[in-house]
């Protein structure tokens, strides 16, 4: 397949997929809480726009609905909820220190290579012109997972979890032109409920250890943690 032979709209789909990958890296490397929530919102918006474009190119009308759902949930509602939580916990200016930022990002780049290698056999299936995006969406999933491993801040881990869902949605849109609407609605609802539950957990964690750094959950006694 040659990119130059595709119509402009399909080229734009590839650009948006690449931007979603960039947003994943921005999430991974961003140490400021509010800025990472913004990155997550941008990723949601990019994925929603990509879905709308796929709907236009493939003339699949129910995808417009899922695009709208993604836009309203993942780029507006959930970021807004997280923002409110962060404001209420008084952590707007919180900056997390990542131990080896360059290594974390390079390992992320390694994950992209890995997911490309994994997706190669899938690409050979004659699916559609968007099949190359499978590798990108797999790397978005893996990067979200890696973010949950590498970061210690609870909010950052939740963002990693949510961006994994973005990756899965991207894969569904790119490879099979979207899931059935019932499934999509269910998943969206799940994510929303998860966001609410995570909010409750934030409060509990911050009440019991007075911080959202989950590394402090490893310590057993109060005075060790309090020092």
């Amino acid at each position: 397949m040659n990119l130059a032979q595709l119509p402009v709209l399909e080229q734009a789909i590839f650009v948006l997929a690449a931007l979603a990958l960039l947003a994943s890296f921005a999430l991974l490397a961003q140490t400021r809480l509010t800025a990472s929530i913004h990155s997550f919102a941008w990723q949601g918006a990019v994925v929603a726009l990509l879905t709308a474009l796929v709907a236009t190119v493939g003339e699949i009308h129910h995808l417009y609905l899922s695009a709208l759902l993604t836009l309203s949930l993942k780029s507006l509602l959930i970021p807004w909820m997280l923002h409110r939580l962060v404001r209420r916990l008084d952590m707007e200016r919180e900056v997390e220190t990542i131990a080896h930022p360059a290594l974390v990002v390079l390992a992320g780049a390694g994950l992209v290579v890995f997911s490309y290698w994994v997706a190669l056999p899938i690409e050979r299936l004659e699916l559609a012109s968007t099949r190359n995006i499978v590798a990108v969406s797999l790397s978005v999933v893996l990067l979200g997972l890696w973010m949950m491993v590498a970061r210690r801040q609870v909010v950052a881990q939740v963002l990693g979890f949510m961006s994994m869902e973005n990756g899965l949605f991207l894969a569904a849109v790119a490879s099979t032109r979207g899931m059935p609407l019932v499934v999509e609605l269910g998943v969206a609802f799940d994510v929303l409920v998860a966001a609410v539950l995570f909010g409750v957990f934030f409060f509990h964690i911050s009440e019991s250890i007075e911080s959202l750094d989950v590394d402090r959950l490893n310590r057993l006694t109060e005075d060790e943690g309090g020092s």
Partner: protein, 321 residues
């Protein structure tokens, strides 16, 4: 290609290098002027850099007692290698004889040569500032060079050539295509260019504040014609990156045939592109604040990541089976 290797082609290449050398101070003056206007200052006249250079060239060069011959030779080497690097870049027309001689890797090599001697000269006299500036410059460039090469490779993989004018011709022929890899390479190259030319988030070209300067610290001991050559080389480098970004990613307007109207359009196009780029640089310098030096590796890490993503997205999404 045939008529480009003719004497007229060589003449045009010479004219082009001269245009580069004469236009570089103008670009620096333009950026300075816009920046002052944005900050509600009147700012120096547009031709002030020429006057500065003229004045410095007429002055006697003072050299410290502890300076070795390398200190005297360095300005000529720095200016010479920057000028040669500049001559290899298509400014008005593609496939000139000089462009056929040198490709992007040679270009990076010439810039590295200039930087090497600049850093050596900074350390030569033995003042604290010179050594500090040299070590900082090496820190920045050691991190910027891989990112730049990565961006270059991304372009080269699309165009199947590392030759600058071939890449430009490839872009001209394929028309406007939204390539994610080019987008990332462009962003990465812009970040690298800002770091390499010592513009604001990394280094402040207008400061002589000891603790923060990089480029100014290295040329602190120079005066007279030596200083003029060093500053001229820095201006040349700024224009080099500007033309590189403008003509590689937006080559429209550049002359592909050796006729007078085509060359005129090429000149006008590159002039407008550089004016626009200078405007963007001035706005960015007004809006942004200088980073701490220890943030510079993070900044360049971002540039490297962007160019790496460009390479990845080329391999994943643009080649295909």
């Amino acid at each position: 290609m045939g008529d480009f290797l003719s004497p007229a082609g060589w003449l045009l290449a010479l004219v082009q290098a001269l245009l580069f050398a004469l236009g570089a101070p103008l670009l620096a003056g333009w950026i300075k002027r816009i920046k002052s206007r944005l900050q509600n200052r009147r700012g120096p006249a547009l031709l002030q850099p020429y006057r500065d250079l003229y004045k410095l060239l007429g002055k006697k060069a003072m050299v410290a007692h502890s300076a070795s011959p390398l200190f005297r030779a360095a300005p000529y080497i720095v200016f010479g290698s920057t000028l040669v690097a500049v001559a290899a870049i298509p400014l008005l027309a593609v496939s000139l004889p000089t462009a056929a001689v040198a490709d992007m890797i040679v270009l990076v090599g010439f810039l590295a040569l200039a930087r090497f001697f600049l850093a050596l000269a900074g350390m030569d006299v033995g003042t604290a500032f010179g050594g500090m500036g040299a070590s900082r410059e090496m820190l920045v460039s050691a991190l910027a060079e891989p990112a730049m090469l990565m961006a270059v490779f991304t372009l080269a993989m699309s165009a199947h050539s590392t030759n600058l004018s071939s890449v430009m011709q490839f872009n001209l022929e394929s028309g406007l295509i939204l390539r994610p890899s080019f987008l990332f390479a462009l962003l990465g190259l812009v970040l690298v260019a800002i770091a390499e030319t010592g513009r604001i988030p990394v280094d402040n070209p207008a400061t002589h504040l000891e603790l923060t300067m990089i480029h100014e610290a290295m040329i602190l001991e120079y005066s007279g014609r030596h200083l003029a050559l060093m500053e001229w080389a820095a201006q040349l480098k700024l224009m080099l990156y500007g033309v590189l970004i403008a003509n590689l990613f937006f080559p429209w307007g550049i002359a592909t045939r050796l006729t007078l109207p085509a060359l005129g359009i090429g000149l006008l196009a590159v002039f407008l592109k550089l004016m626009l780029l200078g405007l963007l640089v001035a706005v960015a310098e007004t809006v942004l604040a200088k980073m701490r030096l220890f943030r510079a590796p993070q900044y360049l890490n971002l540039a490297f990541l962007l160019t790496l993503l460009g390479l990845f997205s080329h391999i994943i999404m643009e080649t295909g089976t």
